[in-house]
């Protein structure tokens, strides 16, 4: 610890004494009225603080403050050995700790004085106006943040009270030093008696004593530890969460580190000490607040930080997607009346369609700022079915289905060649196969079953991007594409089961198609 001017110092703050100038360098004459206990002493006089006790007037630079863990997420800070401005108004000297004094000043007194400092080698401070006039015996301490304990070690020539109140002005608690305890051998308790108020939400404490006849040293308080909380901590995707810093005098920045490595961090350098960070949450991750702690150890650079994990929950009201009904019959579409490269006629075609649009939103503030998500469960469109008009006898291939090929009516398989009637029979099966009838044994039906039994809706529910709604739509489409890729084997298996082998001949009425060119 640095010593100022080689004088052992202690921290003592004394109430301003009105009319103290009259007492300068003289022994009090009105002691009987202000310190009855002293009247019984052999000294028969009340010691007062005097300007001659002053020992320099420089601002101290060294701070020795210890902080120890307290109860329920708090820490206790003790201002032992603090050097305060000597013989000057303390005012905002402790502003870095979030503490402000009114009517208080520092002075230096020796250990042998009536007001000995509690801690050796510390500065004694007292409030005494330069002209020793004014003041009303009150020292007011206000906090930038609520504390749960405030106390000090007081020495007083007169009864002294310490009263603390919350932000509404309501008194939280009051403690008294009812018996004078000067260092004169007359007090049964001795100097530096502990006086302490406990309670929730203390933001203001007032020492109420008599003029310049008391002082206190080694004040302390219990503060909330640096921390951050988010409410709710496990929001549903798209629910707003409010994160609040605790124990920070100054918040410099908020940041969000997503759980998924594929997403970028979000950082918000707050210029106005925003103690809250709120916004819609769509991805899980860690919310971190960075700032200057409100109390001693953490207020010293480097800055302190606190973190909390926010776990976004899937929305529970999302259900498996379903097409809203049997597919739409869209006629021929782009089907050719001629065989394809595999010499096959495409009799029918089913087209599975995703949502017409993706309803999305982008987070504008808070931890997930810049992220977009699907804010409403998508609705699939009805599928589309195309039926080839060859089944109505249109085109060259259809016309050649006349039950005869090269003069023969029976195929090498022993089945009759198909005719126009068979086209009509088969058309019904094609409609059923593609899904126009809504049958479960159709491409439409197989998709509906897969939609019910797979987790596509969950995948889409969790689809999030750090980017625009358009980027989100692209990603959602990819999710759908990848799901659809897995449907190929399912649909192919259905084709084999429904049309494979000679089944298609049976579906057409037990015939073989007339080969054509």
């Amino acid at each position: 610890m640095r010593r100022s001017r080689g004088v052992p110092i202690s921290l003592l703050t004394l109430g301003v004494a009105a009319g103290i100038a009259a007492c300068r360098d003289v022994q009090p004459t009105a002691s009987r009225t202000i310190n009855p206990l002293t009247l019984t002493s052999s000294a028969s006089r009340v010691p007062q603080l005097r300007s001659s006790d002053r020992d320099g007037d420089g601002w101290a630079v060294q701070r020795t403050v210890t902080t120890t863990p307290g109860e329920n997420g708090t820490s206790m800070s003790n201002f032992d050995g603090e050097e305060a401005p000597i013989w000057q108004d303390i005012g905002d000297f402790y502003v870095d700790y979030g503490i402000h004094f009114e009517n208080a000043m520092g002075i230096v007194l020796p250990q042998s004085s009536y007001y000995p400092p509690k801690s050796p080698s510390t500065l004694i401070t007292a409030i005494i106006p330069p002209d020793f006039t004014g003041g009303d015996g009150h020292v007011t301490i206000t906090f930038d943040f609520p504390v749960s304990v405030f106390g000090a070690y007081a020495t007083s020539a007169m009864p002294l009270s310490l009263s603390c109140s919350d932000s509404t002005g309501a008194i939280v608690g009051t403690k008294y030093l009812r018996t004078p305890n000067l260092n004169n051998g007359e007090s049964p308790f001795g100097p530096n008696q502990n006086i302490e108020v406990r309670g929730e939400g203390i933001v203001r404490c007032v020492f109420d004593g008599s003029n310049n006849l008391y002082g206190f040293d080694d004040f302390y308080f219990s503060h909330v530890d640096a921390g951050v909380s988010c409410n709710p901590e496990s929001p549903e995707r798209g629910e707003e969460t409010t994160c609040a810093a605790k124990g920070f005098a100054v918040v410099n920045a908020w940041s969000f580190i997503p759980d998924s490595a594929g997403f970028p961090n979000v950082r918000d350098s707050v210029p106005n000490n925003e103690q809250e960070w709120k916004g819609y949450m769509v991805v899980s991750g860690t919310v971190r607040v960075l700032g200057w702690h409100k109390v001693a150890d953490a207020f010293v650079r480097p800055r302190d930080s606190a973190s909390i994990h926010v776990a976004v929950q899937p929305r529970t009201d999302w259900v498996p997607l379903q097409m809203p009904g049997a597919p739409v019959d869209s006629g021929q579409g782009k089907l050719s009346l001629l065989p394809d490269a595999n010499r096959d006629i495409t009799f029918g075609l089913f087209r599975f369609r995703g949502p017409e649009k993706w309803s999305s939103a982008t987070v504008r503030s808070g931890p997930n700022s810049g992220y977009s998500w699907i804010n409403k469960e998508p609705e699939l469109q009805r599928g589309v079915v195309y039926i080839n008009p060859v089944l109505d006898g249109k085109g060259k291939w259809a016309k050649e289905q006349d039950g005869e090929y090269n003069g023969k009516t029976t195929s090498p398989n022993g089945r009759p060649y198909c005719n126009q009637e068979n086209l009509g029979i088969f058309k019904k099966e094609v409609k059923r196969h593609e899904g126009l009838t809504g049958a479960p044994n159709s491409h439409y039906g197989k998709y509906q079953t897969e939609l019910k039994t797979t987790d596509l809706h969950k995948q889409l529910e969790a689809t999030v991007v750090h980017g625009s709604g358009k980027e989100l739509a692209t990603k959602a489409q990819q999710v759908l594409d990848r799901w659809q890729l897995k449907q190929h084997p399912v649909q192919a298996a259905f084709d084999t089961a429904d049309y494979g082998g000679d089944k298609i001949s049976k579906l057409a009425g037990g015939c073989d198609w007339v080969p054509t060119v």
């Binding site: 050719s336 009346l337 001629l338 490269a341 595999n342 075609l349 491409h443 073989d512 080969p515």
Partner: protein, 224 residues
């Protein structure tokens, strides 16, 4: 002669028809030139029919034969060139119905000339909105085996959600007349991304361009 005409059935339809349900990009492996070398009376007739159909489509005369000519076209070697010509001619047309015949060919036939024409019209800011959108759809059909969308659906979409490209079940295998250029996908992507990112482009055209990019992304996802 055409591939269509040369097809000789070694088995009855009942044995082979199930293949029509097999999806995927099945390319015609038999070169058309070798097919053309085989001559039979039917192929001669079809060749003549195709020439006539191509003439009808090119000249528009006789008008009553137009539909029949288009119906025949997917089986003709002239299909790519004729459709490319028709698409260019429709460059300023704004009636989606006028594109249906070209679309049928584009869906069933792969052809480099048709691809080039579609790429050209799709990127042409002087072409009609319908012609450009239909050209992008045609590019989808040329490049991607089992995805499709209709012009009507594009008009229902918005530029944020983009294209809702459907998935096809039971699509047959397109006939390849002239193989697409090796860099076809890159060229299509270049035009599509350029159009898609230009805010001044008509929304339908941008969405149609998005269909191409989406389909090609899907193709890429399928690569092992």
């Amino acid at each position: 002669m055409t591939g269509y005409q040369s097809m000789t059935y070694v088995q009855p339809w009942s044995h082979t028809v199930h293949r029509l349900l097999v999806l995927g990009a099945v390319l015609l492996t038999l070169p058309l030139t070798s097919i053309a070398a085989q001559a039979n009376p039917d192929s001669v007739k079809l060749r003549n029919d195709c020439r006539l159909a191509a003439h009808v489509i090119r000249t528009g005369q006789p008008a009553p034969k137009m539909q029949q000519s288009w119906d025949l076209m997917p089986g003709c070697p002239e299909a790519g060139a004729v459709s490319a010509m028709a698409l260019r001619r429709l460059r300023s047309d704004s009636d989606p119905a006028h594109f249906s015949q070209v679309a049928v060919v584009g869906f069933n036939v792969r052809d480099a000339e048709l691809f080039t024409a579609a790429l050209e019209v799709a990127g042409d800011q002087g072409a009609s909105t319908v012609a450009r959108a239909e050209s992008f759809i045609l590019l989808v059909n040329q490049l991607i085996a089992d995805r499709d969308v209709s012009y009507g659906e594009l008009t229902q979409a918005d530029t944020i959600s983009g294209c809702s490209l459907g998935w096809l079940e039971d699509r047959g295998a397109p006939i390849t007349l002239t193989p697409l250029p090796a860099d076809a996908a890159q060229r299509a992507t270049a035009v599509a991304s350029s159009v898609s990112e230009r805010p001044q482009e008509p929304p339908v055209v941008r969405i149609a361009a998005d269909c191409v990019m989406q389909g090609l992304r899907h193709q890429a996802d399928r690569q092992p």
